[in-house]
C-alpha cells in the first residue's frame, strides 16, 4: 500500500490552517510506529457518514484506542463535541503537507 494519499478539502471548520480547495497529502503509515498526539492534523472516517472523510485536529487522546478531534474554527465545526471520540482504526492518516 502506497503511504501517501491526497484529499481535497471542503468546508471551513479548519480555517485558517486549511481552506476549502486546498489539497492535503496524508501519510497513512504515520501511526504504524507511534500514536496520534494532540495537535496532529488527521483525516478520519466520518463516524456519522462512514463513506466520507473528515479532516480535523486531534484535541485529546483519552487512551491508546481512541482520539477526540475538533475543528480549529470551533464555532463552525461538527466534531467530537457532537459525535464523541473516534476509534484510532478510523484514522486514515496524518496530514503530511498542505498544498495551496
Amino acid at each position: 500500500m502506497f503511504p501517501l494519499r491526497r484529499f481535497r478539502v471542503e468546508d471551513d471548520s479548519m480555517r485558517p490552517a486549511l481552506e476549502p480547495g486546498d489539497y492535503v497529502l496524508v501519510n497513512r503509515w504515520a501511526y504504524k510506529f507511534r500514536s496520534p498526539a494532540k495537535g496532529d492534523l488527521v483525516v478520519v472516517r466520518d463516524p456519522e457518514t462512514p463513506q466520507r472523510f473528515l479532516v480535523k485536529r486531534v484535541s485529546a487522546v483519552p487512551d491508546a484506542m481512541q482520539v477526540r478531534v475538533a475543528g480549529d474554527n470551533a464555532d463552525r465545526s461538527r466534531d467530537s463535541r457532537a459525535f464523541g471520540p473516534i476509534p484510532t482504526r478510523e484514522i486514515v492518516g496524518k496530514v503530511w503537507i498542505r498544498l495551496r
Binding site: 484529499f7 471542503e10 473528515l54 464555532d75 461538527r78
Partner: protein
Amino acid sequence: MSLLYLLARWLDRISPAPIAYAHCDIPCGIYDPHHAQLAAHTVVRMVDLINQLEKPGASSTPEQRQEYTNKLTRYIATKEQHSEIAKNEVRILWGDYFKPEHVKTFPELHELVWKALKSGSKARQEINLQAAEDLLKATNDIASIFWKTKGFETITAKAPYPTERLTVYPKFK
C-alpha cells in the same frame, strides 16, 4: 499557488481526489432565542385561555359539554406542543450556540437554562400560570444574554400579542 498544488489539480483529471470535509454543523451559526420566547408566550396564552374557559354547569347540554371538551383539548394540546418547542429551542441554544467562554462571562446561564427546562416541564404537566410565566422569564433572560454575546443591547417591551407580557428584544443598530 505551488507547483505541487498544480500537480495535485492535474492529477484530479486522471483520478479525482476524495474529499476530506472540514465539516460544519448545518446551518452554520444560525441561532435566535426568539423561537423560545414565542413558544413561551403561546404557553402563557393557552393557560390564560384555559382559565377563561367557562366550565359547563350541571344543566348544560351534551353539545355544550362537547364544545367545552373540544376547546379545552385543543388548548391543552397546544400548550403541550409549545412547552416542548420552548424547551427544545433552549436546548439548541445551550448545546449548540453557547460556548464555554459565554458561560464564563455569564455564569448565571447554567441556572437559567435549568429554570427554563424545569418550568417548561411544569407548564406542560399542569395548568399553572406561574410556571408559564417562569418559562417566559427564563427565555427572556437567556435572550438578553444571547444578544449581549452578539454585541447588541436589548430593550424590554410589552409584547404586541394578547399575552402583553414583557419581552426582551434586540436593539439592532
